[in-house]
């Protein structure tokens, strides 16, 4: 019951989904649509597990007065505020102009955009560290990155050539390499999917 039944569920649902792909008939389409909705619904229930884990971890840090426990208080305050504001007026709680959305616009959005923008700094420092003529591979990486970056920089007469070279690299050899990766990923993923369906790869099920 504990291990065989889940493996059976995986097998049956997996095989169904594969077969379903080849059958256009509406009866299969019907089950397919329900199955997809079930998956979403399971995900929604699981959200409670997430909130539970986050709350428990923060509360236990506060209780133990672990280093930085004050910051865990901030997390709990932020979480509780959003939950309260998001529910206290029913489904009107998250309409535009509510305090809930104010917090979204003035706290969530700027932090999110700033975290994202850190990439501008990191892409520079990563380029500095990685692009050295250390090995052949690193040199290829360096040279192509330079050619592409130089397309924005006026170089007088070479600009035309560089411009052309940059777009050629992007559309030809770049495409070839990406296809090789895509095909490889395709084979790896399909093989893994098969291993899952046939119950060979089952580490994700855990053990008793």
């Amino acid at each position: 019951m504990r291990r065989q039944l889940p493996i059976l569920i995986v097998f049956v649902s997996g095989v169904f989904m594969v077969i379903q792909y080849f059958i256009p008939h509406e009866s299969f389409e019907f089950i397919y649509e329900y199955a997809m909705d079930w998956i979403i619904i399971i995900g929604i229930f699981a959200m409670l597990l997430g909130l539970w884990s986050l709350t428990r971890a923060s509360v236990s840090k506060v209780q133990a007065k672990a280093p930085g426990w004050g910051f865990s208080v901030m997390t709990l305050v932020g979480l509780a505020t959003m939950l309260f504001l998001g529910f206290y007026k029913g489904n009107k709680s998250i309409a535009e102009g509510t305090f809930f959305m104010d917090l979204f616009w003035y706290i969530y959005t700027p932090i999110q955009a700033t975290m994202f923008s850190l990439l501008a700094f990191y892409i520079a420092s990563a380029a500095y560290r990685a692009f050295r003529v250390r090995t052949v591979l690193a040199t290829i990486l360096l040279v192509t990155a330079l050619i592409i970056m130089l397309r924005l920089i006026p170089l007088g007469p070479i600009s035309g050539v560089n411009q052309w070279l940059a777009s050629w690299i992007l559309t030809v050899p770049n495409m070839a390499a990406k296809r090789a990766i895509w095909i490889g990923v395709g084979l790896g993923a399909t093989a893994t999917a098969l291993k899952i369906i046939f119950g060979i790869e089952r580490a994700y099920m855990g053990k008793d």
Partner: protein
Amino acid sequence: MNFYERLMQLDRRWIYLGVAIAVTIPVLAPFKVPVYITPEAKAVYEFVENTKPGEIIFLAIDYDPNAMAELHPMARTIMRQSFSRGIRLIISALSQNGPGMAEQLISQISKEYNKKNGVDYVYLGYKPYPGITILAMGQNFRIPFPTDYYGTPLDSLPMMDGVRNYDDVKGIISIVAGNIAEYWINYANGRYKAKVFFGVTGVMTADYYPFLQSGQLFGLLGGLKGASEYERLAKQEGVATEGMSIQTVAHLVIIAFIVVGNIGFFMSKKKKR
């Protein structure tokens, strides 16, 4: 640690500082960085420049506010250039969420140049099914657009007198995001042999190069860079030029750091030998 080794292992905070300066200084104290002008951008510019005063260009504003950052500067510059040269414009907006945005731009710029609706320009507005609309306009603008955006019948607009279809305009410039571009190529050029020029978003640029080569497209502005090239050509440096200047400086800074790192690497290796 000697000097070269230090160059090789700069504290990354120096790099962060370099990037921060590169994007802040040009914002506070704008300056012009030279731009390399691509032939395909120049083709668009020269087409407008060689159109005589009084002649008509069809300007299609086929994008919505999502693509504004890259495409608005193009539409704005082309409109200004045309108006200042006395060229008349027929303007359409075939992207579903675009007509209001286009209207704003048109009324702003026509005011700058004191141009009159119906005399110096006509704004047709939006119709669904871009493919069919473009095809139908090849026969007569009045089929899809019996009236203009403001509800005035085209026949009562002085500018539209004797203007029937693509044959009566010098060419079509479509500033476009998404698949409407293909309809312009397939129908306006493919079927009615109209001269089509594009301004497209950065991600679309590479996809439309082949059409330049095959002669189905007569000029192309690609992304923010294309917009800045155009601003430069038309001597109307604005948002795109400023944005590109910052990008150019930022790219230069990164390249400089890469070069510095490599000099350090090279020299310290030499020394060890």
